[in-house]
């Protein structure tokens, strides 16, 4: 393992006691950070230090710490999940930073994602978008044999590409319009590429977009910042598919 020297850092962290309060940045010095630490482990160390000093720890969301659950995510120096491509905050390591760096840490900023505390935001709007149609209506126990539904391998691969979305919200955080189009598109595109999604495809596109808008997310202006920030590397081609699905549904749905 290559030897790295330890880092001394200044962290500028957004502190906000609860949704109703005004937040502010606070600076913390952190010494002797190992480059082998993950970014969240660095925050753990900060919190241990704060506890010793009698200050309440910084709240941040995290769970699996292996890049799949989608719980973690902060904006690091203006970039959601930090500087690495295809990487969640928990998989970002401190070797990507330099000794003496100032690291500004902010929560996802979006009206639809109100701050819960410090770096924690409420992403339940995503659940409501899925509730609007991100499913196949099949009752438990009603399903035919798995091989009764044939899915060509490339279609399965395309659906899997979209279904890989971890629902972290980095797309919203990165988008200048705080649009959740990549998230919504990932689900619409996943089901639009499979025969199972066929019966409900029109309603799905219409209703999921209606909910997306009601939740207060912005519109897509094709800057593709979402794709660049997405830790699951979901492609914007899924947004195009969503646009197709939507316009087809808009023009041909029976209601």
């Amino acid at each position: 393992m290559p030897a790295h020297k330890q880092l001394n850092l200044t962290l500028r962290v957004w502190r906000q006691p609860d949704a109703g309060s005004r937040g502010e940045f606070r600076d913390y010095k952190l010494y002797s950070v190992s480059p082998e630490m993950s970014f969240l482990e660095m925050l753990d160390v900060l919190n241990e230090q704060l506890l010793e000093e009698g200050e309440e720890p910084v709240a941040f969301d995290h769970d699996c710490r292996e890049g799949i659950c989608g719980t973690c995510g902060v904006v690091i120096n203006g970039q959601p999940h930090g500087p690495m491509q295809g990487t969640t905050t928990c998989q970002l390591h401190m070797r990507n930073f330099e000794d003496g760096d100032l690291i500004v840490i902010e929560p996802w900023r979006a009206s639809a994602f109100p701050v819960v505390r410090d770096l924690v935001v409420n992403r339940s709007a995503f659940d409501r978008i899925i509730q609007a149609g991100g499913y196949v209506s099949v009752r438990t126990g009603q399903a035919p044999d798995g091989n009764a539904i044939l899915v060509p391998s490339p279609d399965q691969a395309g659906a899997m590409d979209a279904a890989a979305c971890i629902g972290c919200g980095a797309c919203v955080a990165a988008c200048k319009n705080a649009s959740a189009m990549l998230f919504t598109a990932a689900k619409v595109s996943h089901l639009a590429q499979l025969p199972q999604g066929e019966p409900e495809r029109k309603q799905r596109a219409l209703q999921m977009i209606a909910t997306h808008d009601e939740e207060g997310f912005g519109a897509c202006t094709n800057t593709y910042e979402c794709e660049a920030a997405c830790p699951a590397e979901i492609s914007v081609s899924h947004i195009a598919r969503l646009n197709r699905e939507y316009s087809k549904a808009m023009l041909t749905a029976r209601q």
């Binding site: 203006g78 900023r109 979006a110 009206s111």
Partner: protein
């Protein structure tokens, strides 16, 4: 709410219409540029002929102008509405914001064509006001300076002013910047995204942007240099303003010089 209003109020529906009107306006740019380039042929005669032909059927012209105007209006209206909604969607601004895209070629201190569409659109709108006041309502705005002249001569006179020509140059560049994102982006908004064609759409978009910017921008050079104004034309009599509306073009007018 009918399905039409519901669809048009949705974020995707709005972008769909934005894309269609955008492409329609791109089409207009092509025709407009092609027409303008006629200025370079035959010392303005061809251009004038084209201009008069364009105006020969007032009903058709009116309909065309209404459609064009509607295209602009819808495009601008949607831009304003979505821009307002998009700003509201962010709420609290970031203290620091940095892109994660590494593939942008045009990037001026973080300003890129795709992130500044509203701003470039606003500049173009401002330019449009100037442009319409010059060429659509020029006779009223500029009065006797150009009233009644042949179209090519009007252009020559107006563009001979370096400041005015400069405005046109800036306008042209901004139109180029705007369509450099707008052209291919419209395809994405309309759902046209396929690995087989994406590269082509991108390339055509860039080429189109360059052609538009250079094409329209060239009149700046033409205006301040080659488009010198004949003093005789400059001092044309005031009364001839009604000539255009009443009489067909007189070829002999051009042979005067």
């Amino acid at each position: 709410m009918s399905w039409v209003t519901a669809a048009l109020r949705s974020s995707v529906g709005k972008k769909f219409v934005m894309g269609i009107t955008g492409l329609f306006l791109c089409g207009f740019l092509v025709i407009h540029l092609a027409g303008n380039l006629l200025l370079y042929i035959g010392d303005g005669t061809v251009y004038n002929e084209y201009a008069h032909k364009l105006h020969s059927n007032p009903i058709l012209l009116f309909v065309a102008e209404v459609i064009l105007f509607a295209g602009f209006l819808i495009h601008i209206y949607l831009a304003i509405v979505t821009n307002r909604e998009n700003r509201a969607a962010r709420g609290v601004r970031y203290a620091v914001k940095k892109t994660k895209r590494e593939d942008r070629t045009v990037n001026l201190f973080g300003w890129t064509p795709d992130t500044t569409m509203f701003a470039s659109g606003a500049v173009i709108l401002g330019f449009l006001v100037v442009h319409l006041s010059d060429f659509k309502f020029g006779d009223i705005v500029h009065g006797e300076r150009i009233a009644g002249l042949e179209p090519a001569d009007k252009a020559r006179i107006l563009m001979s002013d370096a400041i005015r020509a400069g405005i046109y140059l800036v306008g042209s560049i901004f139109v180029g910047i705007h369509v450099s994102h707008g052209f291919w982006s419209a395809f994405q908004s309309l759902g046209v995204n396929h690995p087989k064609y994406n590269d082509w759409i991108r390339k055509v978009g860039i080429a189109f942007a360059i052609i538009v910017a250079v094409g329209f921008g060239s009149f700046f050079v033409w205006g301040i240099s080659g488009g010198e104004v004949d003093p005789a034309v400059e001092e044309a009599p005031v009364g001839s303003s009604s000539v255009l509306e009443t009489a067909p073009p007189r070829p002999d007018q051009y042979t005067q010089k």
